[in-house]
Every structure is written in structure tokens, then in C-alpha cells.
Amino acid sequence: MEITLNHYLAVAATLFAIGMMGVIMRRNLLIIYMSLEMMLQAANLTLVAFSRFNPRGHLDGQVFVFFVITVAAAEVAVGLALIVALYRVRQTTQVQDLNTLKF
């Protein structure tokens, strides 16, 4: 069978949905963060797929992905630093213990 754009998009969507499930389901902060990363990567796959199937052959999608990977890396660094700082204060990474912002 021919692999068209739709297939790649469907796969990327499935990965995105799996990432979303991880964010909602897991209680460990680090796993949640990892799932968030997975959602970003799914978006990357989508972008590359579109860039590949672009009739004019432009590589703008890939340049976009380049930047996304860079920024995602920086963001992961900062986010993990925050998690570490939070762990120092609360001695926990369970998300249900971080519930002071409530009524």
C-alpha cells in the first residue's frame, strides 16, 4: 500500500494522544514532564511529514522542527531545575501533594 501523508499524520496524532494520556494519568511529576515531551515530538513528526509532502519541496517545516528541538531541550533543562527546586522544598514529586493553590 502506498504510505501517504494521512498515515504519518495518524501516527503522529496517536503519539500525541498517548502523551496527553500520560499527562492526565500519571502522578509522578517527572513522568508527566516526559509525556509532555512526547507531545512535542509528535508535533515535530507532523511538521516533518508536511514538509516532506509539500508540492514545492520547501524545507521550512524542517527548519521549524530544528528550532522546536532546540527550544524543547532548553525548556527541559529549566523545567527539571524547577522540579529539583520543588523537591528540595516539598520533599515530594507526587502531583497530588502540590495542591496549595485551591479554594
Partner: protein, 198 residues
């Protein structure tokens, strides 16, 4: 041939993704995530994004996941491995995920074959449709480089600035207060306050 590889890599990626979210052990999750990235890079190669495949493995699987593993091992997570699963939240998450997938599937379903009608509604008919993949040349690195330093030079420079800022931010965030010599336990209390107010 192409289809075979596509299916292998995609199913591998999906299974590893599921493993990430279903695993109790955090280290195992992190390793599975690394494998997911590897499979994704394979898909990138299939999509003729060679440069990006390499970059993905280098940065995400190589640097980001290693960082994750460092932090996982830094924090003591053994107690959480035995916590019971929350059925309610799993159900909710499944609902949302299925809803999302359903939306995407329906979108893709309404577009015949190779998203021809989608492009037809958006672009003029003189432009060839998305249907077939265009011929591939292996010098995408060259082309990306050209684009980066001509059209997208501004985001490029700003991104470098952003990485600098992130570095400084991480250093500041992880700095520990200098401990006063006597009474480490007593000094823990004020340390908590200042960390909160930081």
C-alpha cells in the same frame, strides 16, 4: 518495502510510547522514551529528513533523556513504585485521548486518499496536489543550512540567546543557599521559607 518499514517503525514507536506511560519504574519509562525517539528518527529518515534524524537522536535521545535519567536518579522515587493505580484518572485520560484520536481520524477520513480535496479547497488548482512524494535529494543539510542563515537568521540568533538565558536560569534555580555552620537541622526551616519565596 517502504510500507513494511513504516509499519515496523510506527508500531514500535507507539508501543514504546505506551510503555512510557504505563511503566511503574521511572527509569524504565525514561529508557522507553529514548527508544521512542529512536523510532521516530527512523521515521524521519523515511521522510528524507536526514539531518533532523541525526539531530533528534543527538539532542533528544542523547542529551534530554540523559538529563531526565540524571534527575530521576537524583530524586528518591522508590516509594512511588508501589502506589496503586488510579482507575478513575486512567478512564478520564482514555476518554480524552480517544476523543482526540477520533477527531483526527474523522478529519483524515473525510479527505479522500492523499488529502487531495484538502489542498484543492485551500490552494489554486495550478499547484500540484500533495498526492505523491516529490523526488528526493540527499543534500537537505545543505538546504537547511541555507535557509537558516538567510530567511530564518533572526530566529536563529534569538534561539542562541534563548539557550544562554536558559543556561543562566538553570544555574540560578539550582543554586543552594550557603549553609551556616552550626545547626543544620534548624537552618532547614528558614531555608524552606526562602526557597518558597524565591
Amino acid at each position: 518495502m517502504e510500507a513494511f518499514f513504516f509499519w515496523i517503525f510506527s508500531i514500535g514507536m507507539i508501543v514504546c510510547g505506551l510503555a512510557v506511560i504505563l511503566n511503574r519504574n521511572a527509569v524504565a519509562s525514561a529508557l522507553c522514551f529514548a527508544f521512542t525517539i529512536v523510532f521516530m528518527s527512523a521515521l524521519f529518515v523515511m521522510l528524507s529528513a536526514f539531518f533532523l534524524a541525526a539531530v533528534q537522536i543527538l539532542v533528544t535521545a542523547g542529551a534530554v533523556m540523559v538529563l531526565f535519567l540524571f534527575i530521576i536518579m537524583l530524586l528518591d522515587l522508590t516509594a512511588m513504585e508501589h502506589a496503586p493505580r488510579q482507575k478513575l484518572w486512567m478512564g478520564c485520560a482514555l476518554v480524552v485521548a480517544l476523543g482526540f484520536v477520533f477527531t483526527v481520524a474523522r478529519t483524515l477520513y473525510t479527505l479522500p486518499g492523499g488529502t487531495a480535496s484538502l489542498t484543492n479547497t485551500v490552494t489554486p488548482s495550478s499547484v500540484p496536489s500533495f498526492g505523491a512524494a516529490t523526488p528526493v535529494t540527499p543534500d537537505d543539510t545543505h538546504q537547511i543550512g541555507k535557509l537558516l542563515f538567510s530567511t530564518y537568521v533572526a530566529p536563529f540568533e534569538i534561539t542562541s540567546l534563548l539557550i544562554l538565558v536558559a543556561t543562566i536560569g538553570v544555574i540560578v534555580l539550582c543554586k543552594e543557599e550557603p549553609r551556616s555552620a552550626p545547626g543544620k537541622e534548624a537552618s532547614r526551616e528558614p531555608k524552606k521559607e526562602t526557597a518558597l519565596t524565591r
